[in-house]
Symmetry: C2
Subunit: 371 residues, 2 copies
DNA sequence: TAGCTCTATTGAAACGATTCAATAAGCACT
DNA sequence: AGTGCTTATTGAATCGTTTCAATAGAGCTA
């Protein structure tokens, strides 16, 4: 319809053929070396005449040239991809982390290769193998549960691939890590309940296996000590080790039932994490105890559903999305250091947790004292 | 300590150098062509002597040989990766789909490259570009919300890359799709409430923009007609179009409040999806109406949190993990068809939804009739 | 003994980029 | 007129595989 100078049927539009760099070279009248230099803005581009640059860029655009990532990598050793391994994506708190990682990588035009170990060691190893085959430039491991560190450490550091863990730390200094300050989080949680006037508080501690459990409990104890609050051992239980991400909910349910059977009264419950808290709320509700009217409940993590549940959950927020971004930053720094042959030492980041007050906690004075 | 025939210090263990195929070739005493044939079990491997195979495999294992995915691809045109694009991973019902996709790919030794469009068109396009650069062999798009199909269709089909959508359908027959049978789901939901004896039922319909909204409502209407149940227009609202995955919750909350203000009584509420249902429950609870004692609520999707919330949510289950797996199967079939130069036509799968009865619904006879 | 089919193996040419060293022209100095 | 510097461009090697065509011995048939 519209008359233009272009020939009506161009090859580019019809064929599914791949446009290679050589095509751009011949189309623009320069060599592929020049094309490569211009299109990558390589150091030598300083010497390329502006007119040349323009002609090449125009040709590339016109042909719809897209560099072949594989060919590029084969030569330059850079895959522009990084491996992101989760131990169990089913765990609701993984999603914000994934979002954080994805977003940060997007900014750097890196692509995440996603892996989910399903909490199985052999699966973890197989994925590691696959990621290495794909020559990821770095590795981020989100380890909510246990992992065997030997192989990760060996394989990864041997090949000089930067690695970072989120929610987990490894011995040695080869692998960076991002974690929340669990001790501070524990303190914040108890402090909140204490300030609301609660004194008879039940606790569901995290499983031994988990790296978070210890520090969180330590923070609780320290705060209790500082205000001379007695922690009644009869009101303390601990989740058992398990490989199932949903075990938190079931554990919270079961151990709350146990606590209730003891007939020891408590006006608040401090759960290891949000899932545990949900389990606890379920058990309390089933026993006819209203949350927060008769019992306050506080969680830890601030998983996405905590804001949606009824009642919405007061919790200690981990800045999960931020943590994902930080991990990316760390491995990126390391990649760049390697590229520029600078030295680089792994680091251990601690992010600060934050109290989020919602509907599952209220002042003890408003709490009905009896069952 | 243990005396072996091996020399004490092997090159392999110390260096971070890459073991190439040529290394395996020289170590085993054969040519790299033979090594390639053996290690890939290529057609020509029929003619290779068993002893040769063994020697090559041993050498490869001993050296810790790992094929270079990039070099391999450059030659064979196969990246062994597929692109997985989400429109908003934040939406809780994406996680099971991701799990399903990941698991199916793992079985085929394919690797997923993860992309999240954040519901933004330009981001979607940029990611498409990146995925094509990485030469993914196929594309799976999980489109919970709207998307502009023109470019997807054009770019993808032009390059003969198989594509499948989950929770969305495209015009034309280039792109396969997996969807739940929404009409049946709508019917199941109303049927459940009806069988519980509910007659005064409020409805929160899905936003116009969403492909699911229409059929779901149609199923509801058809069932109502079949049992001569009158749908009171005053008890019907519709979510407004929005790009925010969380809008379901807020919408559910707001429109339930609106319904309550009308003072029209209802004993049950049928929500468009689970998030909407949670919003509705929040509003009902806030208004002093207990769920399910005074009002039953049913959702749709069965997102992971539906089982954990208090009360746990009765809902229509979409087999999300299965759907992810199906999509993988489809694109895999298509990839293989392309490889074997067979013909292949895209298909549209419908999976059946399933009623999951939990605690948010109960018989109308047990429902307190007045507010 | 020529001709054929199997078995067993390999040389060498791709694949599509990057990058180093080489070339060459122009200009400004001593 | 020789030397050195800057600008502008390119030829050719290289990355690590895959794969086609070639080679060659061996056993079988006619």
């Amino acid at each position: 319809m519209v008359p233009t100078g272009d020939p009506p049927l161009k090859r580019e539009s019809s064929a599914s053929s791949t446009v290679t760099m050589r095509d751009v070279a011949t189309a623009s009248g320069f060599s592929s070396a020049t094309v490569s230099i211009v299109l990558n803005n390589a150091p030598l581009a300083r010497y390329i005449a502006p007119a040349t640059k323009k002609r090449i860029e125009d040709a590339a655009k016109k042909l719809g040239y897209r560099p072949n990532a594989m060919a590029r990598f084969l030569r330059s050793k850079r895959s522009h991809s990084i491996g992101v391994m989760f131990f169990d994506i089913t765990d609701p708190y993984c999603t914000p982390i994934l979002r954080g990682i994805e977003n940060a990588l997007y900014q750097s035009s890196y692509v995440p290769i996603f892996a989910d170990a399903h909490n199985q060691k052999n699966r973890f190893e197989r994925y590691l193998e696959m990621l290495l085959e794909h020559h990821v430039e770095a590795l981020i491991v989100v380890a909510n549960w246990l992992l065997v560190d030997i192989h990760l450490l060996a394989d990864v550091s041997k090949r000089n691939i930067p690695a970072a863990t989120i929610c987990w730390e490894l011995d040695g200094d080869t692998v960076s890590s991002v974690m929340v300050d669990n001790e501070m989080g524990g303190r914040l949680a108890l402090e909140h309940l204490y300030q609301l006037g609660h004194r008879k508080i039940a606790y569901i501690r995290g499983p031994k296996m988990l790296i978070d459990s210890g520090p969180r409990w330590k923070g609780i104890q320290k705060f209790a000590q500082s205000v001379k609050l007695e922690i009644d051992p009869a009101l303390v239980t601990q989740l058992t080790d398990s490989f199932d991400a949903n075990s938190g909910f079931e554990g919270g349910y079961r151990f709350t039932e146990e606590l209730l059977q003891k007939k020891k009264r408590f006006t608040a419950l401090l759960a290891f994490d949000d899932l545990t808290a949900f389990g606890a709320i379920r058990a309390l509700t089933k026993a006819g105890i209203k949350v927060p009217e008769q019992c306050s409940v506080i969680g830890f993590d601030d998983v996405p559903l905590s804001a949606l549940s009824a009642p919405s959950l007061t919790t200690i927020r981990q800045p999960l999305e931020t943590m994902g971004g930080l991990a990316v930053q760390m491995v990126m720094d390391s990649i760049n250091a390697g590229l520029e042959k600078r030295d680089w030492t792994s680091s251990r980041q601690r992010v600060t947790p934050e109290l989020v007050i919602r509907d599952s906690t209220r002042a003890a004075s408003q709490t009905a004292a009896d069952d």
